[in-house]
Each structure stands twice: as C-alpha cells, then as structure tokens.
Symmetry: C2
Subunit: 260 residues, 2 copies
C-alpha cells in the first residue's frame, strides 16, 4: 500500500480535481464512491475499482480493513493518506474513510425503447434523482434515461441517495428524449392531474416506459405529447401534486403489484 | 403599508431571529412562510397571517400585489422592505419576495390513536419529512406524530418540501411514541424486510397507523414491537431498502387503491 502525504503529490491533485469538479468526473468518465456501503455495493455488482483510498485512522476499521485487504490481494492500486488529506476529498462529514475511484459504467445505448425504463426530463434535485434510481432498481426496472439538464447521476449526492442502485441500472445521460421516445415499441406512461384514468386502471403487467419531469414544471409539452397514456394517481384535490420521487415510487410499485 | 428600512428596527431584528433560529420558531410558536405558493396555501386553508412581508422589488409582482392588497383589506399588519433586508430573512434564492409570519397550528392531542395516522420515529432528513407530509395529505391522512429527534416540521426546508401539506394536517411534535402507540385502537403497521406478508396482502380498507423510522436505522426495536403488523414492499433482493419517503408513498397509496 502506497502512502500520499503531500497535497502537492500529482495523483492527489488529480483526485482533488475529480472530487470537487463534476465536469472533471464527466470528462474523465470516472467517479468517486465515498463510504463503505457504496464501495461494498460496487464490488458486489461490478467488481474491483481502479483505485482504493483509505484514511490513516480508518485503515484498521473492522469494515474497512477487509475491503482494503481484498483490494491489495486483487492487485488494485491502494493508497493510504492522512485524515486531513482524505477529508479534503470526501463530502461525507462523519463517514468512515474509504473511497473507491471507478470508471462510470457506459452501457450500450439500445436501438429501440423496448424494455421497462424510466425517462427523466430535466429533473433537478439530486435527492429526487437518487431516490428514483433506488426505487427503480428495487422494482426491477433496468434502464434509466436522463435528458440534458437532468441532475448528473454520478455526483456524490445522487450516489449517496441512490445507495448502490446505480450499480444495478443502465444509466444513460444527456439523452435526446425525442429520438428515444420515438423509438419506443412499448407503452409510454406519464402522470398528469388532467386525466381521469388512474394508475390502478391501466394494465401494467407488461413492460412500460415511465416518463417524469422537472419538479416544478413537469414534463415538457412536446415530450408529454409523445406519451401513449397519461395516468393519474388519485389524490385529494387540495394538494397540487406529489413529490416526483414519491410519484415514481407509487407508479413503479403499482407495476410490481400488478405483475405479482 | 409600513416600511422598514433599517436593520436596527426592533421588529426587523425579531424577524431575523425568527428566520435564522429554529429554536426561536419553536419557542415563539410562530413560523415563516417563504414564497407565493406557501402563502397562498396557508390563506386558502387557514386564513390570514399575523404579518405579511414584501420586498420592494416584488410589491408590484402580478402574483404578490393581490396577496398584499388582501392583507391590507383584512387589516393584517403588512411591511415592505428593501430587497437587501428581505433577502437576509429569506432562504429562497431566486424566489419572489413575499413572506407570511404565522402562528404554528397547535391541534388538540387526541386521547386515542383511532384515525388514519403517520407516526415518525427519529426521521432525520427535512426533504424526506416534507415529502412524507405531502404524500400523507394527498392520500387523505390527517394526523402526523413526530418523536423527539425527528426533524422540525415547521422549518423552512420541510415547509418547502411539504408544498402546503402542513396546512391540511394535524402535526404533533415531540411526541412520546410509546404512550401514543399504547393508545392505538386501530392496526399499527410498520414496514420490514424481515417479514413475508406484503402490503398488497394486508387489509388496508380501514383506518391504520403507519410507523416509519430513521433513514439508516429504521424504527427503534421497542417501538417496532408495538406494531400489530409488519409488512414488506416486495423488491429485488440486491437493493437493501427503499428511501423512507418512497416507502411511505407506496404504503399510503396502496391504502388509497384498496379504499377505492
């Protein structure tokens, strides 16, 4: 295991750049998994990281030590650094000091939209995106397509909220949703309060595409027009709408219920 | 309409304290509603505020002007202040400058737990709490009981996430959940991954109590033991659990579905 002890170390500078710049993460196709849970989930589903980083005070931690040992056994580059240097990379305040650097998965873009999918138009909030990814993975949905303008799925906040869901999904970003929806061979459903058909009345025991949009403005009109079905979640009229991640969870699990 | 133009004005100092200290809000039993949407929702459901505050540049805004006019017509104390002073009170970055100061509602604590309710044990995240309140109100659930340690429901973040749901609910805070659950005359349901009965198999066409807990640790063991039913949301085993606000939405709307 190597040790980095200076902020001027070139690798440290590179890591700092990766940790603090979402542009650097996008450009390099790499991201940072912060904390034992995310690192364990990554290894379980996708294998070894490119690089393992551990803070001095966490190296002997009962959950960290076996993770590090396995990295060393696998020949993965593993670096120990003083806590002060580590915490300048980490966004987790009271977390255990273990981090993986991994390649952002780049799944093959499908020629047709023919499997259960979630399509997100301009979704803003990292917490909402993470929650939607987590619900989708839990419901057995495999593909998530994000428009330009949707929050960056591989940001630390979204990954924390996703709790490892990222590693079970095919996530496509900066997608032209028009072309994508035009390629759909299965029903495309969007929720709307201006319709009478409820999610409980529509046949969800089949692959469908779920379309969700911006927290305030919803799905853009031109994309909404490409939905084959608009459905409503019946609710008290005094409430304008549900939180988008709550809506998505209700829709995905109504599909689970109907498929049982 | 009065104008405040100095940071040394005693009322301004009081407002600043209210805006920046959650303890001040708890102690005074008052809170701050920031933005047109929350103010409109409050007025619609609960009436006039104690005080209306408008920023100079927003006084003529097409949504704000009629709100202010109605406050003046109702004899509500209404104050205009320069944008710089207003923005020192507001947590909304690009919002329209309208704020209500209102008394935090203090509903009567029920002698028995006999109506549809949500019980929250040590829920931490303001966004999750706001989303749960919004889903509960949308599903027609009236009562929400929060333990000591649960996020403060009347904080600006929770109110923004709640989108006005607060004004449709009876929210009880700092509740002793043991005594409360001991008074239940209806089923108390908690979600768990260690049970085989699904939410789709249990009879929800009746009033029930939903018990949810801390984002990481779930419901405390001693409270969990007071649940009359533990139910599971069927999901892929690779995912540890759903986000608590997503779980709550799925449960509340399974109840809506069964009640239709």
């Amino acid at each position: 295991m190597k040790t980095i002890s200076s902020r001027d170390n070139p690798l440290y500078k590179e890591l700092k750049h990766l940790a603090t710049s979402s542009q650097a993460r996008r450009k390099s196709g790499r991201t940072l998994l912060d904390g034992v849970h995310l690192c364990q989930a990554y290894r379980q589903h996708l294998g070894e990281p490119q690089l393992c980083i551990v803070s001095e005070s966490s190296a002997q931690h009962h959950e960290v030590a076996p993770m590090v040992a396995r990295c060393l056994a696998a020949g993965t580059q593993t670096i120990c650094m003083p806590d002060a240097l580590y915490h300048a990379l980490s966004q987790v305040e009271h977390g255990v000091g273990l981090m993986f650097i991994v390649a952002t998965p780049s799944p093959e873009f499908p020629a047709q939209l023919s499997h259960c999918s979630v399509v997100l138009d301009n979704l803003q909030d990292p917490g909402n995106l993470g929650s939607i990814l987590r619900s989708a993975a839990a419901a057995g949905i495999k593909n998530v397509f994000c428009s330009i303008g949707t929050a960056f799925a591989w940001s630390p906040k979204v990954m924390r909220a996703g709790m490892g869901a990222h590693f079970l999904l095919n996530i496509f970003e900066n997608v032209n949703l028009h072309s994508l929806l035009a390629s759909a061979t299965i029903p495309v459903l969007a929720t709307s309060s201006h319709t009478s058909q409820t999610i409980y009345q529509v046949d969800l025991n089949q692959p469908v595409v779920w379309l969700f949009g911006h927290e305030g403005q919803g799905v853009a009109d031109d994309l909404m027009a490409m939905a084959t079905h608009t459905v409503t979640i019946p609710q008290r009229p005094e409430i304008e709408s549900l939180n988008v991640a709550a809506s998505a969870a209700i829709c995905f699990f109504e599909q689970v219920r109907q498929s049982q």
